[in-house]
C-alpha cells in the first residue's frame, strides 16, 4: 500500500513538474498606472495569455518619477524584466551599453506597418518596437484671440504669425499673456526650443553626425526669436503651470501634447480652444517627436516570447484600444492611424498631421547630456542676458568636449 502511495506521489510530481516547465513567464515593466488606462493594459495582458496559454505575463508598474532609475539599476545588475517600456530618449543609452536585445529579425515581417523605427535604430540594430508616439502642437485660446484684430479663427502659419498673435493677446491686459514659456524644468525646455530651431532650418549636427553645428546663423536666429517671444509676451513657468494658466484663460498660445486634450476632457474644462500645426518660416514647421517603445532585455531568457508579446501589444487593434482609453493621438501603427476614431476628431487629426512633420533628436547615447547643454543655452539667453550666439557657442564647446571623450 505504502509503495503504491509513493508511486502515485512520484507520478503526480512528474506531471506537475512537466506542466510547470512548459509554461513560460515573462515580466513586463510599464508606466501606465492611472485609472483610465490600467484596466486596458490588464485586459490586453489577459487576452494575450488566453491566446498563448503557454506564456504568462507578470505585469509590474513603474512611476514616471523613478521608473528610469529602477530600470537603470535593474539592467546594470544584470536583472530586470523581459519586456520594458522605454522613452525614445533612453534607447540609445541602454543599447550602447549592451542592455537591449536587437529585435530586427523578430519584427522584419511587420516593420513596414509602423512609424517611428528611426528612434529605436542604433548602429544598424533595432532596439525597441514603437508603441505610442508623441508630438506637440500649438493650442490657441479662441476666446482671447477673438478679442484681438486677428479674430477667433486665426491660425498662425508662420513663426512671425505666431509672434504677432501672441503679442496681440498679451496686450489685452496685465494678467493676460501671449505665450507659455517653459523654465526651470529639465527634459522639457529643449523640447520647446528645438521646434523653433529645426523650423528655422537649423541643425544640431551635420548629416553624418560628426560635427556640432548648432551655432549656425539659423540656429542663432531661432534662439533670438525664442527670446523675443519670451521677453515680449511670455508667461514663464513649468509645463504644468503653463497648462493651468492656459486652461484658466490667462495664456493665449501654448505648445503642448495630446495629454492636454485628455485633461480638458476629463477635468471638464470649459475652454474654447483650437489646435494647429507648429508654424515654420513660410508654412508648417517641424515639431518635436518622441514616443514610448517596447524593448527586450538582452539578459532575458525568453526573447522570442517577449517579441511575440510586444507584437501583440503593439497590434493595430490594441493600439486603438489604448489610444481610446488614454486619449492618445499618435499610435505608431499606420493601420491604427487610419482608424475612424482618429478621423472623427479635428484635434487628433492635428496631432497625426503634425507627427508627419515632426522631427526627433539624434539617437545618441550621450543625448541626455546634449539636451542639458541645449537647455543651458536657452536659459542663459532668457534669464542671464547672454547673447544667443555666445550661449550656443558655450554649449557647443561642451558638446564637442563630450563627444571627444
Amino acid at each position: 500500500m505504502r509503495v503504491w502511495i509513493l508511486r502515485l506521489m512520484a507520478v503526480s510530481m512528474l506531471l506537475l513538474t512537466t506542466g510547470v516547465s512548459a509554461e513560460t513567464t515573462i515580466e513586463w515593466w510599464q508606466f501606465w498606472t492611472d485609472a483610465t488606462i490600467k484596466p486596458v493594459i490588464e485586459e490586453m495582458v489577459e487576452e494575450f495569455e488566453a491566446q498563448n496559454p503557454d506564456i504568462k505575463v507578470k505585469l509590474t508598474d513603474l512611476t514616471w518619477s523613478n521608473g528610469h532609475e529602477k530600470i537603470v539599476v535593474a539592467l546594470s545588475s544584470g536583472s530586470g524584466p523581459d519586456v520594458l517600456e522605454l522613452g525614445s530618449d533612453w534607447i540609445a543609452q541602454f543599447a550602447d551599453n549592451g542592455h537591449l536585445a536587437d529585435i530586427s529579425d523578430g519584427i522584419s515581417d511587420t516593420r513596414n506597418d509602423f512609424d517611428g523605427w528611426s528612434m529605436s535604430t542604433y548602429r544598424g540594430g533595432v532596439y525597441g518596437h514603437p508603441w505610442i508616439l508623441g508630438t506637440r502642437v500649438v493650442y490657441l485660446n479662441r476666446t482671447l484671440l477673438s478679442q484681438t484684430p486677428f479674430g477667433a479663427d486665426h491660425l498662425p502659419i508662420t513663426m512671425v504669425d505666431l509672434l504677432t498673435a501672441a503679442m496681440a493677446i498679451d496686450s489685452l491686459g496685465d494678467d493676460t499673456y501671449g505665450w507659455g514659456s517653459n523654465a526651470a524644468e529639465k527634459h522639457r525646455l529643449y523640447k520647446k526650443f528645438l521646434p523653433f530651431f529645426w523650423s528655422n532650418n537649423a541643425q544640431l549636427f551635420t548629416d553624418d553626425g560628426e560635427l556640432c553645428v548648432m551655432t549656425s546663423g539659423p540656429g542663432i536666429d531661432a534662439l533670438i526669436f525664442y527670446e523675443l517671444l519670451h521677453d515680449s509676451c511670455g508667461y514663464v513657468a513649468n509645463q504644468r503651470r503653463i497648462e493651468d494658466a492656459f486652461l484658466d484663460g490667462k495664456i493665449g498660445i501654448i505648445l503642448s501634447g495630446d495629454w492636454l486634450l485628455k485633461r480638458i476632457e476629463l477635468e471638464k474644462h470649459n475652454i474654447d480652444f483650437a489646435t494647429t500645426l507648429f508654424p515654420g518660416r513660410n508654412g508648417p514647421g517641424k515639431s518635436f517627436m518622441g514616443g514610448e517603445f517596447l524593448a527586450v532585455n538582452e539578459a532575458s531568457d525568453h526573447k522570442a516570447e517577449a517579441v511575440k508579446f510586444i507584437k501583440f501589444i503593439t497590434s493595430p487593434e490594441n493600439q486603438v484600444k489604448f489610444c481610446k482609453a488614454n486619449r492618445s493621438a499618435n499610435p505608431s501603427s499606420r493601420e491604427a492611424q487610419a482608424n475612424e476614431y482618429f478621423k472623427n476628431s479635428l484635434h487628433l487629426q492635428t496631432f497625426i498631421s503634425q507627427l508627419k512633420l515632426a522631427k526627433h533628436p539624434p539617437v545618441d547615447p550621450n543625448w541626455v547630456h546634449v539636451e542639458q547643454y541645449i537647455e543651458e543655452a536657452v536659459e542663459a539667453v532668457l534669464f542671464e542676458d547672454i547673447t544667443a550666439g555666445e550661449a550656443l557657442y558655450r554649449s557647443r564647446v561642451k558638446i564637442d568636449e563630450l563627444r571627444q571623450q
Binding site: 549592451g98 523654465a183 526651470a184 529639465k186 514663464v236 513657468a237 541626455v368
Partner: protein, 289 residues
Amino acid sequence: MIRGRSTSVFLSLPWVITLLAFWLFPLLYSLAIGFTDLQLLRKSFEWVGFANYSELLSDPDFLSALSNTFIFVAGTIPFTTVIALFLALLVNRKFPGRGLFRAGYFMPSITSMVVIALIFTNLLQRGGYVATLASMVGLTPPEHGFLLDSSTALFSIMGMDVWMSVGYYMLIFLAGLKAIPDELYEAAEVSGAGKIRQFWSITLPLLRPTALFVLVINSIKSFQVFIEIFVMTKGKFDTSTVVYFLYEEGLSSQFRFGYASAAAYLLFVIIAGFSVLQFVLMRRKGPVW
C-alpha cells in the same frame, strides 16, 4: 554568566546584522567606489585613485553647488537659532493660549517638506502672495517670480527653510529652558539682577549644551538640503546644492556612482569638520556669543 553573554550576543544579532548590512557596508562600499569610475549601465569600471576628488575640485558645477550650500548654511543657521530661541523664551512665559502658540510654531516641522515646498512655490510665483505683498510695500518683485530669478531664488528657499525649522528648534530650546532651576532666577532677583541680566548671566550660559545641539543638528540638516531644491527649482537659477549635485550626477541622468560617492564623502568631511569646529568653539570657557 557565559550563557547570559551568548544570549545577549544572540539577541543583539538582528540589530548587528542590520547595522553591518544596511549601514556599515554601504558606507564603506560607497567610500570604495568613490575611487573608481563606476557608472551604472556600463559593464566594467576601473580604479581611478583620487581622480574623482581632483575632478570635483575643478568642476564648476560642484564648486557652484558647494558655494550655494555654504550660503544656505551661513544664511539660515543664525536666523533659525536666534528666532527659535526668541520664540522659546516667549512661549516659556505663562499666558492664555500658550499651548496653541507652541503647537502653531511647531506645526510646520511635522508637515511634509514636499507639501510646504509646493505651497511656497505657489506663494513665490509671479503674481503670488509674496509678490503682491512686495508690491504693496513699494518693492519691485522679480518679473517672472522669486524662484525664476538667480538673485532671489536661493534666498527665497532659505527664508522658507527658516520658517519651517524654527518650530522644531524652539521646542528643543524650550526643553533646555525647563531644565534651568527656578532657584537660580530667584537668587538673581534677590541679588537685584534684572531680566536682561538674568538672561545673559543665567539663561544663555546654561543653554549652551542645548544651543550646541541645535547648531550641530541644524548645520548637518542645512548642509544636506535637497528636497526644497528638488521640488522648487530643480537646481536651476543658482540654487543647486551639494546633495542636489550628487543626486544629479549619481541618480538622475548620468548615473556616475563613483563621482557622486566622492562628492558625498567630500560633503561628509566638510560636515564633520564644521561639527568639530562648533564643538570646540562651544566648549571653550567664556562667552562665545
